[in-house]
Structure formats: C-alpha cells, structure tokens
C-alpha cells in the first residue's frame, strides 16, 4: 500500500486517493487529425520506471495533483501541483530506471511524427 504525501494535507494512505492515470497529456483541438486524436485518447507511455501521473485526494481535500512514481519500486519520487512542469529527477534516477522511460517516450514520439 502506497503512502502518498498530499501537497495540501500531508502523508496519507493510498486508500484515501484515486489514481487518475498519466499526467501532462495535452488535449488536442478539434482540428487534430484522427491519428493525433486517437493517440491522445488511447496511447500512454506506461513506462517501466518513472511515471508522471495524477492522483486525487478523494477522501481528503478533493484536490488533484501530480506524482512522479517509479513503477518498478513504487517509490514516490516527487509530488507537485497540477499545471506545474515535470520535475527534474536526474539526482534520484538510477541508470536502471531511467533507460526504459526514455525509450518509451522516444517510441511514442516516433509514433506521433
């Protein structure tokens, strides 16, 4: 069971939260191509390593915020507000966990272009 530090309430148990999937997904406009729209709807990075995702403190303050979590070890590497940029995590990233993320991102990037 994860223990997550809500930026507004402090450390709480996972059961107080709701997982909201990958964060930093940009919503395309109506002019987007079918391929770009499908990518927005269905394709996620799903990394083995550091995932940037959003969580809701549903049984607490009711606020959404972002979490950087290692999907292999379940370590919470950073917690930051909605709208904030992805934190630089190089200091805590081990070579082992960084590699798969960048690979996953690259492949999605290629899929889009």
């Amino acid at each position: 069971m994860l223990q997550i530090h809500c930026p507004y309430c402090g450390m709480r148990d996972e059961e107080e939260y709701r997982f909201g999937g990958e964060s930093h997904v940009t919503r395309p406009t109506l002019e987007a191509s079918d391929v770009a729209w499908a990518d927005y709807l269905f394709n996620r990075i799903n990394p083995k390593g550091i995932a940037f995702e959003r969580w809701l403190h549903s049984y607490g303050c009711g606020r959404w915020f972002n979490v950087a979590r290692d999907t292999v070890t379940h370590e919470i590497l950073a917690v930051y507000p909605m709208g904030a940029a992805k934190p630089q995590l190089s200091k805590v990233e081990s070579a082992q966990t960084r590699e798969p993320v960048s690979r996953a991102m690259r492949s999605v990037g290629e899929g889009l272009s």
């Binding site: 069971m1 994860l2 909201g20 395309p28 709807l41 909605m82």
Partner: protein
Amino acid sequence: MSSSGAYRLAQGGQLDRSRSLSFTFNGRLLSGHAGDTLASALLANGISVVARSFKYHRPRGIFSAGFEEPNALLRVEINGAAVPLVRATMQPLVEGMVVTSENCFPSVDFDLARIFDHAHALLPAGFYNKTFKWPGWHTYESAIRRMAGLGTLPTGEDKTAFFRHNLRCDVLVVGAGIAGLSAALEASRAGARVTLIEQDAELGGRALCERTPIDGRSSQSWIGEVVGELKASSQVTILRRTLVAGYYDHNVLTALDLSDNEHPTGPVQRFWTIRATEVILATGAIEQPLMFAHNDRPGIMLAGAVRAYLHRYGVAAGRRAVVATNNDDAYRTAFDLHDAGVEVAAIVDARERVTAEVEEEAKRRGLKVLRSSMVVDTRGTTTLRAVAVHAISSDGFRLRDNGVWISCDTLAVSSGWNPTVHLYSQAGGRVRYDTSLACIVPDSCRQRVRIVGAANAEFAALSAIASGARAGREAACSPRESQPVPRGASSEYRTATNGIQPIRRAPQTRSARQWVDLLHDVTASDIELAARENYAAVEHLKRYTTNGMAVDQGKTSNLNALSVLSEVTGRDIGALGTTTYRPQFMPVTFGAISGDARGDLYAPPRHMPAHQWHVTHAAQLDDYGGWKRPACYLRAGENRDVAINREVKAVRSALGLFEGSPLGKIEVRGRDAARFLHRIYLNNVTSLQPGKVRYGLMLNENGIVIDDGVFACLSPEHYLVSTTSGNAERIAGWLDEWHQCEWPELDLVLMPVTSQWAVLTLAGASARALLQQFPSDIDFSAAAFPHMSFREGRIGGRRARVQRVSFTGELSYEISVPADEAEELWQELMQRGAQFGITPIGLEAWLILRLEKGFLHVGSDTDGTTNPLDLGFGPMIQKKVGDFVGRRSLMRAHDQATSRRQFVGLEVLTTGSSLVAGAHIITSPAPMKRSEGFVTSAGFSPTLGRFIGLGLLEGGHARIDETVTVFDEGRTVQARIVKPAFFDPSGERMNG
C-alpha cells in the same frame, strides 16, 4: 505416567501441570495441560493418526510443531463455534474443545476413500486435466469439486468479534526469537518507538524448544531478562499470537492478532495495519524433510519438532526413535531424546563425514550412527513400525548394498533449515539459493528492511543475537533518507548450517511413492512426470502438480520440489529460481480483514428525506443504486403489477407525487460557469437565459454518452446541474477533474448539493392547481411559468426551487426543498392534493411513464458504445458552437456511420405478447440468424394496453415501420419499429 497421556514425560516442558484441560478428539475424551497446543496434547495421548490426506486419503500424523504443519489441520469447536482447518500445532488447548478430523469417512482410522490410494497409478499429476474432457469438464465439475474440498464450512452466524487497528512505529520487529528480541532491545535502548510482533503466545522463538545455553546461561534466563527490559520500556509495544501475513509497499504490513481468539466470552480477532519507518525481519527458518518411499506415515516428524515437543511440552514423540539427517543439527534430537530416556535406535546420516564434536557426543552416549546411509522406505499404517536403511554412494544417487529394517515408532527427519524469507520476498526483496549453505537466502531489497537471525541463515545463536543487536541499533538511528536505496542482506553473521550436504532424496529400491508435498499429496514421480511433459519452469511445475499450492503454501515442500526438478533437469537449483511469495504468509480470516465493514456498515443503505412516510405507507422498498426507494405502494389486496398499473393511471388521469431526492444536483458558480458547462455539455449553454432550463447530454472524450439531465440558469454566474440519480457522485467528480486538471484557469466553484435538497415531483394535469393552493411568491400560471423554466421562492413558507420539467410527459414540477423539510411538505401536498386524487408514485411506475413517453434512460438505453448520433442528437450538435468534451470523437467516420446501433421504439404486434429488456432483435427470415440489436427497456403500458419497448438497432433510424423478430430465450415475437415516442408525441400535456 502423567494423567495427560501415556507419552507425557514425568518432568520437563513449560506447562502448568497443576491445570488439566479436557477435550475430545473424534469423540474420545482426552486431557492435557495449560500451556499445551492441541498437537502436543494429542501426541501426549498417543494419537498417531490425526487426519487423512487430501488426494489419496492416507493416514497422517503430526509432522511439525509450528505454522508449517501440512498434516494436522483439524476442525476445532470452542463453545459451539467451529472453525475448519485449524493447525493443531498453533492452537492452544482450551477446556471443552471439540476436535474432529477432516476429509475422512466413516472415521480417521478407517476411511473408505482410501480407495484413491490404491488406485494412485491412475491419478498422476494433472490427471483431471487429461481425463475429464469428454463431453466436457462441466459434466464432472460438481462431483470433483465436492471431493476436492478440504474441510467443512461451519454454518450459522459467525460469533467472532472482528476489529481493525492501525499502528505506526519507528522500528517494527517481526519475530521474537533471540535475534528479534535482541533487535527490539537495542532499538528501544537507542530511543526508537518499537513494535515487536510474535506469532507464538510466548516470546523466545526456537530457543523455547531447545536446551542449548545462550551466552553461558540457560536460554530461559536470557529470554526472561531481555523480555523483562522490553516490557518495562514505554517505547515498546509487544503483540503476541499475532501473525504478520502481508508485507506491502512503503513498509506497510498487516497482521492477524489471535491473542483473544479463545476469550471466554467469545472469540476476538484483530487485524493490524502497521506502518513502520524501518522493519527488521527475524522470522526464523523452517526445517525441511527428506524424501524417501512412504515418507508420509504417521510417526515421521521433523527432527526439530521432536525436540520442541520434548522440551516445551514434555512429550516424547514415541518410544523408539530413528533420526535421519544430512546435517549435524538433527543429532541434537537424538541426544535430547536419549537424555530424556527415550530409546534412539539409530542415527542415519546421508553424509560420509560428521563434525568431530558431534561424533564424540554420539559415541559418549553409545548411539549407533550409520554414515553414508539413508532411510529409503517405511512400514506401518496407522503407526510407524519400521524403516529400511540402505548405504548409499557418496553422491547420494545410488544404493550400495542390501538394506536393513530397523523397528521404530518415530522417525525424526531433517534436511536442514531453510530461512523464512516469505515476508522479505513480499517486500520486493530478491532471494537466491545459496549452494554452500544449501538453502534459500535473502539477497537485497529496496524497502527499508533488515533481515536477521535464522531468516538470514545466521543459524548460530550468538551470531543471531549479534546480528539482531546491530540491526536494532542501525534501524533506530537510520537517517530518514529521502528515498530508500537497495539494501543488501548482511552476510557477515551467516554460518554454514551444521555441515549440511544437500542429499535430500533417497535412491529408490522399487517403484514407490516419495512424498514432496504432504498436504496436496504431490510425489516426486509427479514432479518427474511434469518435467517430462515440459512443465519444467518452477511456476509451471507448481500449477501442473499443485505442489506448494495447498493452504500451507509449500512451507515444507517447495525446496524439495526444486531439488527434484534440479535432479531431473540437470540444472542447478539456483538457476531454477523460486516461485513468487505473495501475501498472505498464513491464512487470514476474511472477517478480520473486513472488520466492522459488514452488512449495512459495509454498504450503508441510503434513505431519502421522506423515507419515514414511505415506510409507513406500504412502500415496497428496493435498492436502486444504493438508495432504498419505493418501487410502488401496495394497497390492500394488490400485488406489485396491479399497484404499478394503478399508479401509472393515476398520473395520466389525475395527479401523482414522487420523491426524486437522489437526483444529482451540482451548483456551478463563478464568472466562467457558463463557459465551463458549455465545454462539458453537448448542448449550447451560453445562450441559456436566467430562469430557463435546458436538457443536456454529457459525453466522455470518446464520444460516448455518460449522463443526461437538465441544467438551469439561475443567474449569468450561477447554474444548477441535474444528473441521473445513479451518477450523482461520479459526475460531480468528473466535472471537478475537468476543472482542476484541464481548465484550472476558469473561474468557478463546483458544489454538489444532492443530499442538501430533497426533490418532490408533482406530475399530472392538476399539478398546477394544487400548487396554486399554497401561499407562494411564485406565479405558477401557465403564462408566467412555462415548461422548461426555473423559479426560486417560497411555498407554504418554505424555501423552494421549482423546475418545470417532465419525465412523465405530464404537466410536472420538480420541487426542491431543504432535505429536513421534505417530509412535512410531502404530507402537506398529500393533504391538499386529496381533492385532486393525488397518489404516491413508486419508481417502477415512474419508469413506465417515461417509457410511454420514449424518454431516454442513460445506462439502460445506452451502453459503452452509444454516441449521441445514435440517439438522434445530430441536429442539436450542428447547432452547437465550439468544442465540448467528446466532440472530436464524433467527427470520426465510424462514429457517423448510419449502420451503427441506433435508438428506436418497439411495439409488439401480437396482442398479449410480452417484450422484455435484453431480448435480441434478429434478422429474419434468414438461414443464419444474427442479432442486429436488442431491447433496452420494455414493459406493459397500462395507458396503451400493450407491451412497448425501446432498443438499439443497427441502422434503426431508417427502419421505422419495419416489422422485426424479437428473440428471447427461445421465444420469438413480432414487433414494429417506431419512433421512440408512444404517448402524446407532440408534448401537448407537458407543455400545457
């Protein structure tokens, strides 16, 4: 001889011999002492057969003295409350306890199902997968499932009191053996808040079962001093008879506390959730057995268990014992038995060489040691009679000469101790097989965990204590690093386990079964068969043979299974890997996990504000999305159908009153309220004038309809959104997520007010006349308050919000009042409405009324594929200005296809024939029948006098007036496709 059994020694054991406890075993009255476990009491009374095995129904005796027990799983009844599959080795003896064996008929000593044992050649691993295939598994399933069950479930209500507790500490120590005690002591001395958890009722662990001195004094004295200091410390919490069964991420552990399970006023079980900064696992080790033919007979027991019964309970496991081993440790069993006056016929050692001092000890006692020898077979049915001993080659794979039979009633076996790494592995720790130690050892883990003592292969007492002490100090002073880093298990204190040589399996003299998994009756030949059939990976092997899948989870069989597999495949054990250890370490009572969350406390029923009135007026309450709502109100002599028809007619001909309080209500306020809702709803929002109400659809981003309802404009910066009752919470969360995550720049506040406002709905031609009877500042005249408008004011002195909207097709007002005033208003409406023939309406009639109107019910008439175009909202979307959630998806070619399943009405052509929701609309006539859609809502319309329905049909919008065949469970009816508006299609009534 003691009164508590023929095998009880005159002295010894940590028992209260002054207190006798009587109990029955399969009807026999027996007695034991306070301090006995059920197993020690049975052994003391000379009970050899306690159970029948799972598959072959072979007689089995007590095998161990701890949680690893695979045989002695018994049904235990205390004060009328029975529990199946209780481990006799962990159950304290209780006065009046009624104990029965499972899985046997007519008795444990003579079991008819033993026939499976004689037919064992027909029942190899996976036999049921291969055999019961024709005509299909389902032909045999119920009989096999009945036979395959182990244990009998008790009936009646569970009288156990279950509680859930939470605990937070700096250092959690799991296991109170000498290593754990030492860790807890040092951690507490260093100032940490320590929790020490032990599964046994006594602290001390394995040391309670040995007579080896610690640090030059008796183990009791050492334990007593440490426990004394721990108890005196206010920093230390000690939980006994509490089994840590789960180790999860972020150092969250769960444990089942049985310390009051035998409470005189009834069983109490507690479930602990523990969050610890640092964890120290001192979980000990489990002795492993040897494999040889017929190694499952009663009287064969782990060597360490024999010592445990001797030293802790003063019980001799038998009269004449043989000790079989591949290590020095089991010699202690021979010495201790001999010193206690029990005859030891021989020590059978698979190794060529024995440690000098051990050999010296044996010689001193005059014990016969047979080196390079193994027990290869046994005799006896309900008790062990003799064991066959053969000399073996030095690699352990061949027999060297003719064996001898040695008569004995007890065989103590040992293949060394294997660290209990289950929790470490659950924590995400890696484990590996260590060839020199011949056991599985912890390797490294990313959680903040340390592992000490026998659990870390530190088998020497002083090493375990030193390792525990160091871990305790380190854990207490551990800096709260920002992130845990991989932490290796320390190897500094590890000791080779007593000169073990990993010869685990005896060579065969003849084809005879060698048991690997006693509880699931898996033999070495089953593993060989699996390997031959290429189920040679550990995870495949486990599932194919079911080795290690029984309720003991292979605590005494997994390593031996790996050993056989290694032998068959020629691969090292280390290369084979282990199966994954998952929670729970031991079975945990479901009731304890749920605690108080049972019945109404698990899913509290939601009552509407006027609930009391409904209950006292014969409302038939049903569950609708968690709400207890009146399905209908029965009058004398009515059944439900009659009542529902009467209620429908009352609305059509007079006036109905309906409570719709669960209707979702969300207030949206702020400068950007309209802009926000405009992006959410398919409909135009910004054009809505204050005082007006509009119907709206909400889609998800994939263009699928997720909710509908009306929204009202109270003022340009204040809107009231209504959702369907079942979606009230979900839509509130949905709106909030869009606001917080996608459009945080929009200035607005969302406030769900569903339970603050009760909704009483009047429907029927007299609705206006009734409201005009009330003193009110709202002008209810048709001209001043048209259909689809909103008014706020006072009715009969009460604050009220009134929406003129209609779900029934009649003139209708939804009146919202503060929830605590709902019942009074309801009564007043009933009193004043009597002159108009007002009738309370249940939800079933309400749904028939909307069906007659052909109004959509999202969730019934739509599914996860229905988009608004399928529902005929195309023209409305054309009028919409700008983007809204899901709009881009509707532009995809597939979403616009007219061949999709579209929303239609159905009228049954044959009078008297019924129509049900779920029935399929099939192609007809055609050789190959295919479903083209289905009925989504259906019912008898009292107004029209026939069955009508709504449905989703491929290309349905273009098929109006077509006759179709509707199929339901073998019955077909003809129906006509119509536009979904059966009653008053022009809406004269609701607009009037």
